[in-house]
């Protein structure tokens, strides 16, 4: 490697960079928390409820997206469609019973993403391209099978996925369970560590004998399972489904991942960070609502804050 070429000027390096970034994050987080807590009505049960609802459905998908980003595969544009399709499958399978329907929906989500993950992991097919192909195939396939009609539940049992338990919306419980499971996988399992290594430096992971195909496929499988969970919860909430259910989820999910601080280049991040990211976005939305900002301004301010936070996170990183 040549030592002779000039290096870019604006770049913080090493430990000092990390301290600066941490400080900035703490200050920003504190500012948001202060802003939120000083808003009248923020701590009311109604608003907490709205918050939890906003977080849970998109949060599951965001956790799934985190795994894809962590393995260095940037993002998937197909998870939203996977959410919708899983919802359809769940509703259509309710005649088999609620628990089998749940399993079938998860299985479906897993298979869809496993194929994508295998292509990306084994022959290094471009992940964005594969996800767009998957998106097209899912939309086309769903239209083929349903004929464009809304799907209604074919059986009973939706109660398991909606309503409240001990005052907490059940969707939030599923979401927090997803966060916990996701984080456990990442920090405590071998496959989780292998995913992070594959994302950090794929060539080094291969040379070190790590099963990168297996790790990447597993990451995609988890993403599919998370999306399927979100789909089931959505189906339960609305009582019917079509392919529009999950539209646009991909962008919000990746925004949550990046706001939480997971690196778009892979190798650095966690499910907990995505939890923070999802929460920050939802808190800002709720706070703006409570403070009387119009819906338009909510969108705009949320967008600007997302941009600023993403910029903040990446300043300390190498490009």
């Amino acid at each position: 490697m040549s030592e002779l070429l000039p290096r870019a000027r604006f770049r913080l390096r090493g430990a000092r960079a990390r301290h600066v970034v941490l400080a900035v994050r703490i200050v920003a987080g504190g500012a948001i928390a202060a802003f939120a807590l000083s808003t009248p009505g923020f701590t009311s049960p109604l608003s907490i409820n709205a918050l939890l609802n906003a977080i849970s459905l998109i949060g599951c998908v965001a956790i799934g997206m985190t795994f894809i980003t962590l393995t260095g595969n940037i993002m998937s544009l197909c998870l939203g469609a996977t959410v919708s399709a899983s919802a359809l499958i769940f509703l259509a399978s309710l005649s088999f019973g609620v628990f089998p329907a749940f399993l079938i929906a998860i299985l479906f989500g897993v298979v869809i993403t496993a194929v994508q993950g295998f292509l990306v992991g084994s022959i290094r097919a471009n992940p964005i391209l594969v996800s767009i192909a998957g998106l097209s195939l899912l939309i086309g396939g769903a239209a083929l099978i349903t004929g464009g009609q809304r799907i209604y539940p074919s059986g009973e049992g939706l109660q398991m996925f909606k309503g409240r338990v001990a005052g907490v919306p059940i969707e939030a419980l599923y979401f927090f369970a997803t966060v916990v499971i996701g984080q456990l996988v990442l920090s405590c399992t071998r496959i989780g560590r292998e995913m992070v290594m594959a994302g950090s430096n794929l060539r080094a992971a291969t040379a070190a004998g790590i099963g990168t195909t297996r790790a990447i496929t597993c990451a995609y499988v988890i993403a599919g399972a998370c999306s399927a969970v979100s789909g089931v919860l959505l189906a339960a909430r609305y009582g019917s489904g079509d392919m529009e259910l999950g539209a646009g989820y991909d962008y919000t999910a990746i925004a949550a991942v990046l706001v939480g601080g997971t690196s778009i280049q892979g190798g650095s991040g966690s499910a907990l960070r995505t939890l923070v990211g999802v929460s920050v976005i939802a808190i800002i939305e709720v706070v703006l609502l409570l403070r009387g900002f119009s819906q338009q301004l909510q969108y705009l301010i949320t967008g600007i804050i997302v941009l600023l936070v993403i910029m903040l996170h990446t300043i300390g990183e190498r490009h």
């Binding site: 090493g14 430990a15 399992t189 071998r190 560590r193 080094a204 040379a207 004998g209 790590i210 690196s263």
Partner: protein
């Protein structure tokens, strides 16, 4: 009058004085080598000349006039051109486009006849007359690409060409082409600064050599007036022997057996047997196949075929996982690209291959991993305090030690494959690494390394296998071959095996 000179140049980075009062001057039509160990200050000196850094003391003189070179653009305008190891060609573009890439004077409509003629003329001067202007650079060999880069510099009216390790990645035929181009440049009145570790080339192509050591200029001599041993002495400041550990190798049981190894497109019919405790060096330049043999044994060559056995058990190629299960581990020469996980901490790097040993039902036993990381760090001499720091904060030498630490420490010593073990590593760490190699061989490891550094090969090897163009030339036990013999084998063997 010298074209380029530095007078009393000093440079400091924080508390380190990297260059101390260096003065040298380069005349017209002169090819000057600059030699020195890693960390001697060569690259800092070049950075000052090319405008990347500013000197803290002393002056730079261009055509005898003291000049402050403000940035690389300014250096180019003064006629100082750098050809770095990482070439600056865009592979997707043609030769013509690459020659004019980034050139300020090119007009908007850029395919004028005049530009084509000038490109053609520049290519002729470097010996690439028959190369079509529209050829895509991605199809050219590295040697040809370097010549295209030289041609680009010519179109920018460069007068001083600085080449940084130009032949490190070239085959012998391509090296000859570069030399021919440099001689042609010299005849045209240009001057060349040639930075290299390869002392043989210093005597082949250069008129004179300046030696840097620890930031000071040891001296400048005409190559006709000194010999290789004197040059080495100037560079190291001590005799060769102190670098390489003394030892007595006692060959153990047979460990590695390679038969009929083919690695397309280079290696043909390679055979090798090695015992425990031995250091086998595959000596050869780029393209000789030494690196390819190692990577194939490591499982990184998807199209390699052959029979490999470790301690009597057959091992299948083409899979890193299979090689590792057979206790064959690989250390790459490309640390940043293929060795170290820069974002992870040192401890995580060290145990990267040990996850299976410390996991039950897929769950990691973190305490066991931490203990292993500490043990490995101690074994290779990395400070325990570093375990939690990120790998990208380490020096090259420490990173190499981490790479080493990752592959040792299993219960059963196996085969270690090391490619260019000390590339980019400074003097102190090199000696440490050689010591580590010996330590582990004493414990029963069998080490096969590929190196293009003949001194290193002679210093370390129990068995030397010289290679040329994918074939084994000869095999020597320790003491049977000397520098000239091995050099001859790997550059132009009399009878290829």
């Amino acid at each position: 009058m010298p074209i380029l000179a530095v007078d009393g140049v000093t440079k400091r980075f924080g508390p380190n004085e990297v260059l101390k009062n260096v003065s040298l001057s380069l005349g017209a039509q002169e090819i000057r080598a600059i030699c020195g160990e890693n960390g001697a200050g060569k690259s800092t000196l070049v950075k000052i000349i090319t405008g990347v850094h500013a000197a803290d003391g002393g002056t730079v003189l261009v055509d005898g006039t003291p000049t402050e070179i403000t940035d690389p653009q300014h250096a180019q305008e003064l006629g100082i051109a750098l050809v770095a190891q990482e070439l600056s060609l865009a592979p997707a573009l043609s030769v013509f486009d690459n020659i004019w890439l980034g050139n300020r004077e090119v007009p908007l409509f850029h395919r004028r006849k005049e530009l084509r003629e000038r490109a053609r003329a520049a290519l002729e001067k470097v010996g690439l007359e028959e190369l079509p202007l529209e050829a895509p650079v991605s199809r050219l060999s590295i040697g040809r690409r370097q010549l295209v880069e030289l041609a680009r510099m010519l179109t920018r009216d460069a007068r001083v060409f600085i080449l940084d390790e130009p032949t490190a990645t070239l085959s012998d035929v391509e090296i000859e082409r570069i030399f021919a181009a440099l001689r042609a440049l010299k005849d045209e009145g240009k001057s060349v600064i040639y930075i290299t570790h390869r002392l043989g080339e210093v005597f082949q192509i250069c008129d004179s050599v300046s030696v840097l050591r620890n930031g000071e200029l040891v001296g400048t001599r005409r190559t006709a007036e000194i010999d290789r041993a004197q040059l080495m002495e100037m560079m190291l400041g001590r005799s060769l022997r102190e670098m390489y550990p003394r030892y007595d190798s006692r060959p153990g049981q047979p460990m590695l057996e390679v038969r009929d190894l083919w690695v397309p497109p280079v290696v043909q019919n390679f055979n090798l047997t090695a015992q425990r405790g031995m250091v086998i060096c595959l000596a050869g330049q780029v393209g000789s196949g030494a690196t390819e043999v190692l990577r194939a044994l490591a499982g990184l060559a998807f199209d390699s075929t052959g029979e490999v056995g470790i301690a009597g058990q057959p091992v299948q190629l083409r899979s890193v996982m299979r090689a590792q299960r057979a206790k064959m581990q690989f250390i790459s020469e490309d640390r940043a690209g293929e060795g170290v996980f820069l974002r992870l901490n040192v401890g995580q790097n060290l145990v990267a291959t040990r996850l299976g040993d410390h996991s039950r039902l897929g769950i990691l036993a973190r305490r066991g991993l931490r203990a292993t990381a500490a043990k490995l760090a101690a074994a290779v001499g990395v400070d325990r305090a570093r375990l939690r720091s990120q790998a990208d904060e380490l020096s090259g030498g420490n990173q190499q030690k981490v790479a080493f630490g990752r592959v040792i420490g299993g219960d059963e010593p196996g085969v270690l494959l090391m490619n260019e073990p000390t590339r980019g590593v400074d003097v102190g760490a090199r000696a440490d690494i050689y010591r580590l190699i010996r330590q582990f061989c004493d414990r029963g490891y069998c080490l096969v390394m590929a190196s293009s550094d003949i001194e290193e090969v002679l210093g370390m090897a129990d068995v030397i296998v010289s290679m040329y163009r994918g074939r084994q030339v000869a095999t020597y036990q320790r003491g049977e071959a000397d520098l000239h013999r091995v050099l001859a084998d790997i550059t132009h063997p009399v009878a290829a095996a």
